[in-house]
């Protein structure tokens, strides 16, 4: 990766299905050039200054619309924003000019210790204000809008008085940012915290939703019942597909991403999953036209 700006042609992400790219799939992707709508990568995987992964990503950037998805900025942390992290992201964005940049509505560090996880926040006005301020700072620094994603949770705080969708909407409104709606995370939280996923969808303004995430999850069984864990290690569950269908019916087609992080299968499996999402969007669109 060279320093400074690149003169790259714009590659806008359109309302099609794309896939998350992880390093074992680089060569397959560049060789087969599958017909997917866009490619998303974890920004932090490219924080190194050079090497093979940048060579690959530069090729990917030529062939596909690109989305940078951050997992480590810790937007919801009460520590100061990590300047080094923000600057590194800034240089990456300047170089690759991705069409999308996103992060999570979570925290992951306190008192200088990083947990490198997407930890839950209380749904309070204090948390809304705090996130909105930091998202605004990031958008000002990057000179572009970002998307923020709802996360999976395995606990709720007693003092949360907003519904999760009210919380997500309030943050997006106050920070004037976009929403990356993870439909699997909605399903996981609806199960774990006993609400109706449709209520979540209805509580979000479709205009703010610029991208949708889909992934596989795993139920962990306890004596008292199951808690669903957001594992990104298998195919999208059929109940999640059903909720996705409702989301597309409500919002219209949206760029939709298949995420897979552990027990990575052949690239072809991700493409098949993306095709399912693509077909759902096409069917709903053609029914609407007819």
């Amino acid at each position: 990766m060279r320093n400074g700006e690149n003169n790259l042609p714009a590659q806008p992400v359109s309302a099609r299905a794309g896939i998350g790219l992880r390093s074992p799939h680089y060569q397959d992707l560049l060789q087969c050039k599958p017909d997917v709508g866009f490619i998303e990568v974890h920004s932090e995987n490219y924080f190194g200054r050079g090497g093979l992964q940048h060579t690959y990503l530069e090729q990917v950037r030529c062939d596909y619309p690109l989305s940078f998805h951050g997992v480590g900025l810790s937007l919801g942390s009460t520590d100061p924003l990590n300047v080094k992290h923000v600057e590194r992201l800034g240089r990456l964005v300047e170089f690759y000019q991705p069409d999308f940049v996103s992060e999570h509505l979570s925290w992951g560090s306190v008192k200088g210790r990083f947990l490198n996880d997407l930890l839950p926040l209380p749904y309070t006005e204090e948390a809304v204000q705090h996130l909105a301020e930091r998202i605004s700072m990031l958008q000002d620094y990057l000179q572009r809008p970002i998307m923020v994603e709802n996360v999976s949770c395995y606990l709720e705080f007693k003092h949360s008085y907003l519904k999760e969708w009210e919380f997500v909407s309030a943050v997006a409104d106050q920070a004037n940012c976009d929403i990356l709606l993870d439909v699997n995370n909605i399903y996981v939280n609806a199960h774990n915290h006993d609400f109706n996923g449709e209520d979540f969808l209805r509580g979000i303004s479709g205009n703010r939703v610029k991208e949708i995430h889909l992934a596989g999850h795993t139920a962990k069984e306890y004596q008292q019942g199951a808690i669903i864990i957001d594992t990104h290690d298998n195919r999208v569950d059929k109940s999640v597909w059903a909720l996705y269908q409702q989301a597309i019916q409500m919002y219209g087609p949206k760029p939709t991403l298949i995420e897979w992080d552990t027990n990575l299968p052949e690239l072809q499996v991700l493409i098949e999953e993306a095709d399912i999402a693509q077909n759902i969007m096409l069917e709903i669109e053609s029914a609407r036209v007819a």
Partner: protein
Amino acid sequence: MPGLRELQTTFSENLFDENASSVQTSIYAGDFNTGQRMQIYRNNIITSFTDALRAVYPVVERLVGHGFFLYAANDYIINFPSTEGNLHNYGHRFPSFLKSFEAAQELEYLPDVALLEWHYHEVYHEQDSAPLNFHALSMVDPEQYDSLRFELSPSCRLMQSAYPILEIWRVNQDTYAGEQNVDLRSGGIKVLILRDSRKEIALHPLGAADYQMLSEISQRRRLNDCLNAALAVDGKFELNEFLQQYVTNMTLVDFDLG
């Protein structure tokens, strides 16, 4: 009701100490108990740090076995916190941790093998560089040779060990199918870990004089001082041969006349 700062502080404390459970009074239990809920986060976090270490240290894992690796990783994760959101930089103190890790004391070579793997990992992500400008070098006035300072590629590392770590590394690669035993008394080694122009990483065993020369260059010493140090190690050291080899393989990528 705790403020955000207090909530995050006590949450983090409970992740690494099950008895520091004050955060749990703020958690809604529902059908489960609050400890079970925190345990999910604890598991997720330990797993992701462990996976990060396993990705960097596959040879160490093979040498000690999966179970022992998990045990060592767990101890490391609790005592050596991550300090940034980029997980790729996690684990740089694992080699020195292993040196003092009681249960691994018998495997004296293990910290050096770990350091070799950390260097390999760093080199993989390092900055790219252009080849040294041979033409510009040939234009340097011979009278200025004394003040020449060469620069090593950012994507290389030097190390030495009292153990045959290169051989240990080689026989523990997934692609290797031959003899597994390494004679630990077969002596130490000096190694150059170098990413080449195709961005592939190779481990080069080094002679004592080459190692000396490259070490001096890495400290930004003047050519003459480097040369004298190399000649002190081996009186037959040939500068021209050295330059030819290490400029061509892109270990030396720049020079100045400072």
